[in-house]
């Protein structure tokens, strides 16, 4: 991805091009978009190319995993970007609180994290 690339998912993307929170996702010619780094499109077999995506996403579902192999509770969700790409995500913030539907996705160490989107005052 270069700074000259446009945000093609219809969200407009972050205003600040230096913003490290923007995401690089993959998409085929049939507009099937993915967070996961597939070799080729799992839906149509097409070639996948990277594109820059806004980190804004909708939380489709979430849960607090209270019985986990690590013994520590954590919040897990499934989020969908405007391009239709979906990912599992660790929800950051208070476990008991409903995280709402609008979240911002960040990537760290190969995992995606979701935090409630801050609305402007």
């Amino acid at each position: 991805m270069t700074d000259s690339q446009e945000f093609a998912d219809g969200t407009g993307g972050p205003q600040n091009r230096a913003d490290t929170s923007r995401l690089t996702l993959r998409r085929c010619g049939n507009s099937h978009a993915f967070f996961f780094a597939y070799e080729s499109c799992p839906l149509c077999g097409g070639k996948l190319e990277s594109f820059a995506s806004s980190p804004d996403a909708e939380l489709i579902s979430h849960t607090v995993v209270r019985v986990s192999p690590t013994g520590s509770p954590f919040a897990l969700g499934l989020a969908r970007a405007a391009s239709g790409a979906q990912t599992l995500c660790i929800i950051e913030g208070e476990l008991e609180k409903d995280p709402g539907r609008n979240v911002v996705i960040t990537e760290r160490d190969g995992l995606y994290y979701a935090a409630p989107r801050k609305t402007e005052a």
């Binding site: 993915f34 967070f35 996961f36 799992p42 839906l43 489709i60 579902s61 979430h62 849960t63 607090v64 995993v65 209270r66 019985v67 986990s68 192999p69 690590t70 013994g71 954590f74 897990l76 969700g77 499934l78 979906q86 990912t87 599992l88 995500c89 660790i90 190969g110 995992l111």
Partner: protein, 380 residues
């Protein structure tokens, strides 16, 4: 002669068992081969979800084969597997038999077993997730965690009240209380379910099937048997859970049911009873709807009105289901055939469904990554 029949079936007691995995396999084999000639068995299809991880068997199929040969020296069959689920093993057995000559009178055993209760539940959840997709595992997404994501999405999409999840548990425990082989033979109240601890919200402990030990087997024959597999079908979903367009639906079950009912030339409304995948109580409702028994989001209303119980127009999970009968994973898909066999031959005792003539089974792997549906009919 064309029909593939169940000649005999056996379910061991399900629950916390002291015996090891191989001994459980043998117990089911002993039951299903009683009074028959083991020399007529051509193939043994073996199912167990995680025998290496849970029981430390480095070569589980070989361990089972050696033990069976030790006990049944006359059984010189080919061993096939190990399949992860009983439904998978049964489906493959039926497909293979169906390809043979109708005059081939050799018999086939399908046997499934699991040993799980010797380990703490959180450790079992960790081992089971190892058998699932490593991508999901990297997020700590256990099966209950993914099940909870499905459940919340389903409840939201169709405005399902939490009470509906409780009612499935109450019904299945009521059925399980009549099953001498069930893991749980005690009834539970709505209040007990509602106040049980959260596992992965909205799923509570009493919404979830337990980890169990046990085994089941069926002996398939073209020549003898009082019931036959009239149809069967398999469906699959996208490999990664996160790529599903609608996680409130089980596309694999819909595909499997359409294929099985088409092959059987039957429809859901012809069924008297169904054994269905209820690893989580919400899954029973979703699977019933995906099979075509009810429109999406409406099965709970039938339950609310007193239906889905033994001796109503459709008995759902008369065995107690995975919820109360228990869920030794590799055994479960086979045990459903045992239940339908007993029901259609009038051998279900206290939980006998009056007039049971035609039954269906739905069995799944993972979070409905793959699903199997079977239609079983009484031989006229």
């Amino acid at each position: 002669m064309n029909r593939i029949k169940i000649k005999s079936s056996c379910l061991t007691r399900i629950g916390r068992r002291d015996e090891d995995l191989v001994t459980l396999f043998l117990e089911a084999l002993r039951g299903v081969l009683r009074g028959t000639d083991p020399g007529r068995v051509a193939d043994v299809y073996v199912a167990s979800y995680a025998p290496s991880e849970l029981c430390g068997l480095p070569r589980p199929l070989e361990s089972v084969r050696q033990a069976i040969h030790g006990e049944f020296p006359g059984l010189r069959a080919a061993f096939r597997g190990i399949y992860k689920t009983g439904g998978d093993a049964l489906f493959n057995a039926l497909e293979d038999i169906d390809r043979r000559s109708p005059r081939d009178s050799r018999e086939v055993v399908v046997v499934g077993a699991e040993k799980m209760t010797h380990l703490p539940p959180a450790q079992v959840a960790g081992f089971l997730s190892q058998r699932e997709n490593p991508h999901d595992r990297s997020y700590g997404a256990t099966l209950p965690a993914l099940g909870a994501l499905v459940t919340r999405s389903y409840m939201s999409a169709y405005d399902i009240p939490e009470r509906a999840l409780h009612q499935v548990a109450v019904k299945n425990h009521e059925h399980g209380s009549k099953n001498p082989n069930a893991h749980f033979r005690k009834t539970v109240t709505l209040e007990e379910v509602a106040s049980s601890p959260l596992v992965c919200d909205p799923l509570r402990r009493l919404h979830c099937a337990p980890t169990s030990d046990g085994a089941a087997a069926v002996l398939l024959s073209r020549a003898e048997g009082a019931v036959w597999y009239r149809g069967w079908g398999k469906g699959t979903d996208v490999p990664l859970f996160q790529e599903r367009r609608d996680i409130s639906r089980f596309a694999a079950t819909a595909q499997a049911a359409a294929r099985a009912f088409d092959r059987a030339a039957a429809s859901p409304r012809d069924m008297d009873l169904v054994e269905i995948h209820d690893a989580f109580t919400s899954f029973e409702l979703i699977n019933l709807e995906e099979m075509g028994f009810f429109p999406m989001g409406s099965a709970w209303r039938e339950l609310e009105e007193g239906g889905l119980r033994i001796n109503t127009s459709l008995a759902v999970n008369p065995s107690g289901g995975m919820k109360a009968k228990g869920h030794p994973i590799g055994c479960t898909g086979v045990s459903a055939s045992v239940e339908i066999h007993e029901q259609l031959t009038g051998g279900a005792g206290e939980r006998q469904h009056r007039g049971a003539r035609l039954g269906a089974i739905q069995s799944a792997g993972g979070v409905s990554n793959e699903s199997y549906v079977f239609v079983i009919d009484a031989v006229s």
